[in-house]
Amino acid sequence: MKIAVRIKRVPDMDVRFKIAPSGKAVDETGLKFDISDFDGYAVEAALQIKEKLNTGEVVVISLGPDVVQETLRKAMSMGADRAVQLKADAVPADSFAIASALAAELKDGAYDIVMFGRMSIDTAHGATGAMTADLLGMPVVNAISKLEFDGRTAKMRRELEGAYELVECALPVVVTIDEGIARPRYPSLKGIMAAKKKPLETKPAQLPALRLALDAMALPAERAAGRIIGEGSAVVPELVRLLKEEAKVL
């Protein structure tokens, strides 16, 4: 099984962000970066398939400036076999442009499965995977939380709001990965050493004209500071009164 996984480098979210002077980016000072959450699940899911079948190749692909090489090395330290950087000054907001560049790289790769996280945790559009599939003429199943195989048929589960779908599709297929599928492993020391010698190829990203532009980034208005109204069940009647008379939600 030949599997490609698109990964994105994103900042750690557990911080208080600042906006850069341009007004169009986050201030990256002091931020830590890693593989986007859902992309990490995708890498793990791909590695587990390869390990189970004991054959195949896992290729990780990232679009962006040279700093993404670090993210690609991380995926290779987890076990991916090789990496491709599609070099661009920045990752554009235009998902169709990204998908076009990815499809150009993937189309002759003879991949059985192309994986994406169901969305990146930073820009959170969740569009690139499905668009890449369309450009490749491949079927796509979005936001899967289970993936099994019956020969060349992929059997998947997709979470909906309060419901789920069981889905089947013959390979090759593009899938976007939701959580619940596999917890990403930590790279072993051996894995980290091995990753340094694994091939990382850099090519220019073939990005078309952009038609979705990021105009500005802003921090949302802060909620008013919280208020503790009291302790223990004795305060419940007061809570109910406030919900009724002040918040008017009862």
Partner: protein, 326 residues
């Protein structure tokens, strides 16, 4: 460029979803700004067309009904092919970013060779562009994006455009699927709807959520009792609790789960990890019950009660019942 707007009227199990009415309402806003008409496209098994009147009541000038036995299940390939075949007649496509809408929108966009604006919480409409607000970075940063492609493909965050009655003709037109739905490469073999009597987290005006502070899975009964006392409440959970299997993954509220903004959110035994806050901080009123008064949840709670949630919940349930009885 056409000023007309195509709205995706989402249904499941033969029923119209609230997302359908929100999509029509949002499409109306785009069409009114541009002097165009709203056409709603409704897919389903034969009989789904009966819902056309509700779409008309919310602002659909025309309802394109696509009936096929294979649409009893979700069939994104045939749905997308049929929408894409109609798109040359429209300047914009609007749907709600539900699980289904998030699946459909980028594929419609790709079929039209355009980008899409996803999960928008607001739109500013100009003659040949749409500017959207889209929360990113787990809700910590608001991105303003301008879509200059035609057609403009936009998915809106559930609740961004509340259904608004605005009766239009709603002329019904029957449309044949542009691709054979029984020949789709991706087949949905089963749709499990769970307990349909329960309100979905995206639809409920009140959400009662439980976390580790409940101590054990069985104590979720206390959360369910409070939801029942409200009568219009859904039950949510933290990631810690869904990871432990106390509740299904679909109940998880947070950065990687459902993003909700109900009128009232009651956090029961939830400390308020960033992961969780990202999914509920836009709720209109937040109540927190937690035994640790330093818990981060109290920083955003309008009303905080310090104490053991297992003791407090039955008292609250009784008080809510009393208040509701009046």
């Amino acid at each position: 460029m056409s000023n007309n707007v195509l709205a995706f009227a989402e249904s499941r199990g033969g029923e119209l979803r609230r997302a359908a009415l929100e999509a029509v309402t949002a499409a109306r806003a785009v069409a009114d700004a541009r002097g165009g008409a709203v056409h709603a496209m409704l897919f389903g098994a034969p009989g789904i067309g009966a819902h056309a009147a509700r779409l008309a009541a919310h602002g659909a000038d025309a309802v394109l009904v696509v009936e096929h036995a294979a649409f009893a299940h979700n069939n994104p390939e045939a749905v997308v092919a049929t929408i894409a075949a109609k798109m040359p007649g429209y300047g914009a496509f609007v749907c709600v970013a539900s699980a289904t809408g998030k699946d459909i929108a980028p594929r419609v966009a790709a079929a039209c060779k355009v980008p899409c604006a996803s999960d928008a919480t607001a739109m500013t409409i100009a003659a040949s562009s749409i500017t959207v607000t889209h929360p990113g970075y787990t809700g910590k940063i608001l991105q303003t994006l301008t879509l200059t492609a035609t057609p403009a493909v936009v998915s809106l965050r559930p609740g961004a455009y509340l259904p608004k009655e605005n009766a239009k003709a709603g002329t019904v037109e029957s449309v044949a699927p542009a691709a054979d739905p029984s020949a789709s490469r991706v087949k949905v073999t089963e749709t499990a709807t769970g307990n349909t009597a329960k309100l979905d987290l995206g639809d409920a005006p009140v959400i009662i959520s439980g976390g580790r502070g409940l101590k054990e899975a069985a104590n979720f009964k206390l959360v369910e009792d409070l939801a029942a006392a409200f009568g219009n409440a859904a039950v949510g959970a933290t990631r810690a609790v869904t990871d432990d299997g106390w509740r299904p993954h679909s109940d998880q509220i947070g950065q990687t789960g459902r993003l909700v903004s109900p009128d009232l959110y009651i956090a029961c035994g939830i400390s308020g990890a960033i992961q969780h806050l990202a999914g509920m901080r836009t709720s209109k009123t937040i109540v927190a019950i937690n035994k640790d008064k330093e818990a981060p949840i109290f920083k955003i709670a309008d009303y905080g009660v310090v104490g053991d949630v297992v003791e407090i919940l039955p008292v609250l349930t009784a008080e809510v019942r009393k208040a509701k009885a009046h």
